[in-house]
Amino acid sequence: MSLSRTIDTPEIEEALAAGTTIRKHVLDLDDFSREEIHDVMNSARSMKEVLGRDIKKVPALRGKVVVTLFYEASTRTRISFEEAGKVLSADVINMSASGSSTEKGESLLNTGLTIQAMGVDTIVIRHPHSGAPYLLAQELDTVNIINAGDGLHAHPTQALLDIYTVQDRLGGLEGKKIVIVGDVLHSRVARSDIWGFAKMGAKVVLSGPTTLMPPDLLLASNSIIQSTIGSLVEFDSDLDQAIEGADVVMALRLQQERQNAGFLPSLREYIRRWQVTDERLSRANPGALVMHPGPMNEGIEISNSIAHGGNSVIEDQVTNGVAVRMALLYHVTTGPTQLD
């Protein structure tokens, strides 16, 4: 086929008519089908091969510009995206709110429009307000948006790297029992993970203090969640019971600022009831994976020996994160940029 000659728009229109989706933005996992998640996983596997080479560089995104726009502190996510972009030969520009025009009062939208006017192809955004990436996706015409964490809402790239890690280690997620422990209420990672894991056919059990559980996820009255993933998500505040037969145990960071906000009786009690320890892990399936989205508070939500023990795949998660983000950057940048 003569794709190299001209921009073959009839072919692309045909592909669209045949139901091929063209993904422009990655905002959350709720609009990803299981097939599309599989596609991302396959691409990520190829990207991991690239990361294993002596020369870690491919020209795929040569001439593309990626801006990481971070309104919140981050090390792993920002560096992970920066490495992903650079390995694909994109030019990556890092921008953080401090030191930028944001300090002079520029709005998010105007910052976005400014970046768009500079001809940037993709914005990777982290923002403390839920929904901020959606605003940019809606208002900007030519820029792809990737959500790197928005408020309490979503962190889709983390969820995809978690899916990749489980699939890589256990061969798949179908029928696996995944226990997510801790502060689910304030965790955008947990929210995206729940969508992703359940979509891939895993059974998700949430455990932790009832005060740190999101009521919307647990209420039978929430029909959208009940009809899509509700049957696959359970809650059990007793971790010793919840962890029984688990294939994956994921500890969430107990954010220090929550400890004084009345969500917990005391830190000591939290540690006693919900820390992931050797003793508790022995109730899970042999070879169960221990995961943590980072950064960890060792000795609080997870014991030192578990964090660095044989079951821990926490460093795998970080490595896989680069491959998954490469796959996503590649996917959103492929194809005509001004389709809709």
Binding site: M1, L3, S4, T20, T21, N42, A60, G335
Partner: protein
């Protein structure tokens, strides 16, 4: 859609056998050879050529696979479905080796350009040769094949379909006849 058969199962078998013999003749044996198949069709053909070399010379020639998507120059005009990545696997390395690239159809030459760019990221081969099942002409780059199964003059708008035992249940090369709307074209070469 109407189509005209260019090669049948026997034609494909004979062409590949001859190509395998030519590779041995040209390289004076199969030492220091690596056969690299370009996804998807080229990978199957590479394995068959390696099997023939084993049969003729009793030497196991390493077979590698290459996905050139990340090296293409037409990323901006391809759809996401067309850019699904496949595994690149070069277990033996290519440093100092004679590499035989294998693909099903040679057309514009852009795939081969991308493949050569990809290969040199894995080392400095002593030389790179090219084996092709069908050369349909219309090169856009100064590239030619060292081993050709069959030459077929085509018009630019025509489409060539290669069916292989491994994916389609039979070996066949067919020319899609013009004037009829093309539907199935995802695995048409180039």
């Amino acid at each position: 859609m109407q189509e005209r058969q260019i090669m049948n199962q026997e034609d494909v078998r004979r062409a590949l056998t001859r190509v395998a013999h030519e590779i041995l003749e040209h390289n004076r044996g199969a030492e220091d050879l690596v056969i690299v198949g370009i996804h998807t069709g080229g990978v199957h053909l590479a394995r068959r050529i390696a099997a023939s070399l084993r049969e003729f010379e009793g030497i196991d020639v390493p077979v590698a696979t290459l996905d050139v998507s990340l090296y293409r120059d037409d990323l901006g005009v391809r759809t996401q479905a067309q850019t699904k990545l496949q595994q690149t696997d070069i277990p033996s390395g290519i440093q100092g080796k004679s590499v035989v690239l294998v693909d099903d159809v040679l057309y514009t030459g852009r795939t081969i350009r991308a493949a050569m760019d990809a290969l040199v990221d894995f080392g400095r081969p002593q030389q790179i040769q090219l084996a092709i099942l069908l050369d349909r002409g219309h090169r856009e780059l100064p590239i030619r094949a060292d081993y050709v199964g069959q030459n077929l003059p085509t018009a630019i708008g025509e489409r060539v379909k290669v069916r292989l035992l491994e994916t389609d249940g039979r070996d066949e090369v067919a020319l899609m006849l013009e004037g009829i709307h093309a539907e199935e074209e995802t695995d048409v070469a180039e």
